[in-house]
């Protein structure tokens, strides 16, 4: 039923409805602006939820929703002389589709966005601009997960960049502009490298020939399905066959180059160890509601891209590099955890913890088996929820105490028990307490990796211990520790109001749901990952022949 509608476009662009409405609301009407902004994020949440349920009803097909239009068709040369071809075109295809991988992440996006919009209730200035940008950002993020065309993907990827720049730079803390700059530069370089890789892919593998009344026409496009077909299904295609002066052939070096380019591009976003500094700055300086989006979703886009375009397009290379990837993942885990232990600033601690947790995702991907990949996706969703919750709490705390230094935040449990409880729960989820989502995901990722590289996995598991140490030290210190800060002592700290409590409860509920009943997530993933594995095997066969 849903598939009859252009549901993906509706979902992707639904935040823009609010955008349009907001344009006509005067900026001085703070309350109206906030209400509309919030309402605008609920619409996509509803749509995404509905789709998720609908998808689960019949999971036999991997891709259930898809939309395709040729958006821009640009004639290239008319006078070229590749034998027999008369016309060349470059197509920009507007192609969205949802499979079991994209859908959960899209749902996560809408959920975290809605919660972040709630958390943004506290911002002090320029609400209208904030929500305009916020909604634009949400469209961009949704588009990234659904896009099935390289150019479209890039377009949405960049669309997240600019609003995020503003969101960090205008509403952040004192050093916000530097943070925004750093964000822009690192991610800009990342997307630039990605663009190089995409361009090479499109101008080599992205071709289709079509014959009509004796004329052969060549279309270049970034359509992922076209590329997959050229690379994997048609063993005789030009991509896999070298001939003299072929503009299409992928040699081994070429594949490696592309894979490494993509790894770096998405690695910056993920972030992989040496490229992570920008994200610390953003975590520390941006407004908490922005960090919710950032930590909860934007980082996931990197992992998603790596899986979709890196591992799945270049399975051979991924396989050869799996050990290296796993080691990088372990480095991420250990480095993040060790540094998190040394932080006294809670935001920074969470930032390093994110580095550490994203290492788990890498581990899962490196395993290259069903469990590992599922674990990685689980970790994406789970970490998205947890970090959103944590930063939601941080935002509320900061509102009251004006500090996030752990030593100054002792003894919160007495004055605000609800928030302390939430904090505790999020911390437990983060360190992987069974019954909460973190446990499921880390367990699966490590399980996958044990199958492939037991020793690496063993070292990585060390990181889990460190995680427990810093989470407990930090959170326990804040909730039950000695009441150090005068602000905390004088009892003026209110506990969460309803508007703050609501998103916390919702997020916590989802964390719990996945922890107790993981099938809700693994069910749609099952077939999709199977599809991926078939693709990997097909590639292996091709490589062998």
């Amino acid at each position: 039923m849903l598939a009859d509608w252009p549901i993906l476009s509706m979902l992707t662009f639904s935040p823009l409805l609010g955008f349009l409405v907001l344009l006509f609301v005067p900026g001085s009407q703070g309350r109206a602006v906030k209400t509309i902004g919030l309402a605008a994020t609920l619409l996509p949440l509803l749509l995404a939820g509905w789709m998720y349920v609908d998808y689960n009803l019949h999971t036999r097909e991997v891709v259930q929703y898809t939309e395709q239009h040729t958006w821009i068709r640009i004639p290239l040369a008319i006078e070229g002389d590749l034998t027999g071809v008369s016309d060349y075109y470059l197509d920009f295809v507007y192609k969205l589709s949802a499979d079991g991988l994209a859908l959960p992440l899209a749902f996560l996006t809408t959920l975290v966005s809605a919660m972040a919009a709630l958390a943004a209730w506290h911002i002090k200035k320029r609400w209208k601009t904030f929500f305009l940008l916020f909604l634009l950002l949400e469209t961009g993020m949704l588009g990234v997960f659904f896009a099935r065309d390289l150019f479209l993907f890039f377009l949405f990827f960049e669309l997240t960049l600019i609003p995020m720049f503003f969101l960090i730079g205008i509403w952040g803390l004192r050093d916000r502009e530097r943070a925004a700059n750093k964000f822009l530069l690192y991610n800009g370089i990342g997307s630039a490298i990605m663009l190089i890789a995409f361009f090479i892919i499109v101008s080599t593998a992205g071709f289709t020939f079509s014959q009509a009344d004796g004329n052969t026409t060549l279309f270049y496009s970034g359509d992922l399905d076209v590329i997959l077909a050229n690379v994997f299904q048609n063993t005789q295609s030009y991509v896999n066959q070298a001939f003299e002066g072929s503009p299409f052939y992928w040699s081994g070096e070429m594949k490696w180059t592309l894979f490494i380019l993509l790894l770096i591009a998405f690695g910056i976003k993920l972030p992989i160890f040496p490229f992570h500094t920008w994200m610390l700055k953003v975590h520390a300086e941006a407004h908490p509601s922005v960090v919710m989006i950032h930590s909860g979703i934007l980082l996931k886009m990197g992992a998603y891209g790596l899986l979709r375009f890196g591992v799945l397009l270049f399975p051979e290379q991924a396989k050869d590099a799996a050990l290296a990837l796993a080691i990088i993942g372990v480095v991420n885990i250990l480095y993040g955890a060790l540094l998190a232990m040394r932080q006294t600033e809670f935001r920074l601690m969470l930032a390093y913890s994110s580095v550490s947790h994203m290492g788990v995702v890498l581990l899962g991907l490196a395993a290259l088996n069903a469990t590992g990949i599922k674990g990685a996706v689980f970790q994406l969703v789970s970490h998205g929820l947890i970090s959103a919750l944590l930063f939601l709490i941080v935002g509320s705390l900061y509102e009251r105490t004006k500090t996030t230094e752990i030593p100054q935040l002792g003894g919160l449990a007495s004055s605000m028990p609800f928030m302390s409880g939430m904090l505790l729960m999020a911390g437990m989820a983060s360190l992987g307490l069974p019954g909460l989502s973190g446990f499921v995901s880390e367990f699966m990722a490590f399980l996958g990796l044990f199958g492939a590289y037991p020793w690496v996995a063993a070292v990585g598991a060390l990181g889990l211990i460190y995680t427990a140490v810093y989470v407990l030290r930090g959170i326990m210190g804040m909730t039950f520790g000695r009441a150090a800060a005068p602000a905390a002592a004088d009892g003026e700290l209110r506990d969460a109001r309803f508007l703050e409590a609501l998103p916390m409860i919702v997020l916590a509920a989802f964390i719990l749901l996945i922890g107790i009943y993981p099938t809700v997530l693994s069910y749609p993933l099952e077939h999709t990952v199977d599809g991926f594995l078939q693709q990997l095997q097909a590639a292996a066969k091709m490589g062998g022949s």
Partner: protein, 495 residues
Amino acid sequence: MNALQAGDLIHLLPELILVGAAVFLTLLDLALPRRFGRSALAWLTLAAIAGSAAAVAMKLGDEPVRLLNDSYRIEDYANLFKLVFLGGGALVVLMSIGSIRDDEIPHKGEYFYLFLPALVGAMVVASSGDLITLFVGLELLGISSYVLVGMRKGSGTNNEAAFKYVVTGAIASAILLYGFSFLYGMSGSTNLGAIRNALIQNYEQYDAMIYLSFFLVLAGFALKVAAAPFHAWAPDVYEGAPTPITAFLAVVSKLAAFAILFRVIYNVYALNSHLYKDVLLALAVLAAAAMILGNALALKQYKVKRLLAFSGIANAGYLFVPLAANFSLTHYNNFSELLYYGIAYAVMNIGALAVLMAVSNRGENEELSAFAGLYHRAPWTAAAMTILLVSLAGLPVTGGFFGKLFILLGAMQTELYWLGAVMIVTSVVSFYYYFGFIRQMYMRSSGSTPLSLTGPLAVAIWICTVLTLALGFAPHIVIGYMTDLFQLQSDFLIG
């Protein structure tokens, strides 16, 4: 020998309209008593440009007309470029109207009737297929611009800029001519097609001289377009010139030089099987140098015009890429890549300079800080500027993005991967300084009053902004039209 006939004048109608208008305006300016304002001249200038553009547009798609043994060609290559020049010129005139202060430019009349010959020069350049015509056009453009740059007679910095421009322009001309003289010597002709054929035949005999001429010609043109490492004059000249003239130099002059550079390089050198590899490599190196240096030097600038000058150098680098990308099996559209980015570059650059003009407080503050808090002072102008900057930075969905995309695609198709990589990475570096404006506009505050724009200036800004967006959303219309219109064999190659 086919001499010019009276009937051929009709083909020169676009140029003649502008020349006629310039003469008419001169006489009118002399005849009008002092008490009449000179803004009527500006509107007449605009009308002349519009008339000329209409005359050019009517010729689009026609069979090429070749006057005087191919020394002057009226074909789609030239006509498309001419339309860009005229459009850019019209925007510059719009910028100028009402924003030229009386004390700033003592001779407002001259301003406009010197502007027209400069445009004619650019048009002649685009149409020429002969070294002499080419050179005369280039100098008509150059000499008129020298004076335009130095229009503010009383200002020392302005004169200084003009003098620097004259000296560099003249040196560039001399180097170029020296190269031309060898081309002539080796072929006995000044016709580009004849030169090509002569060079192919006599390659063995004169190879050293051919290379000498190539590097001289390339250096001369690189000086004219301010491509690194021949760029040193551009920031000073751009900074010292009146802002509309800066826009004119950055857009029309530069594109005119590219129009003829493309024609000369391909007609004379790149179709020579002995030469083309070295030629294209040299162009690619020049492109990379311009991109890297331009963007790197722009990072430290806080004066907007200097910053845009360096960005112009970087953009010259981008525009060199289609020249460096050879024709190949699957790549044949260097021209549309060049022109499309040229158009995008024109609108976004003119737009940005128009905004600068609006915010610079009548030229008193041309530093980045002039943009501080623009969002609060004039939200719509800030929004327009944001779009223009996003386009300059090459982010979607704007003309600048697609322009760079096409160029990149061309580079990739001809396997110039390294050049494409340089282009992308330097583009990212450019984010830093383009977003510097955005930081100023949105994240800084200034206590001053709302900004008031004069009507024509606002129109110019919005035309540029809308075109930038339109080029981003419907690039296929423009590029498809160009590709349909332009036939390499008949519209570009000479002889």
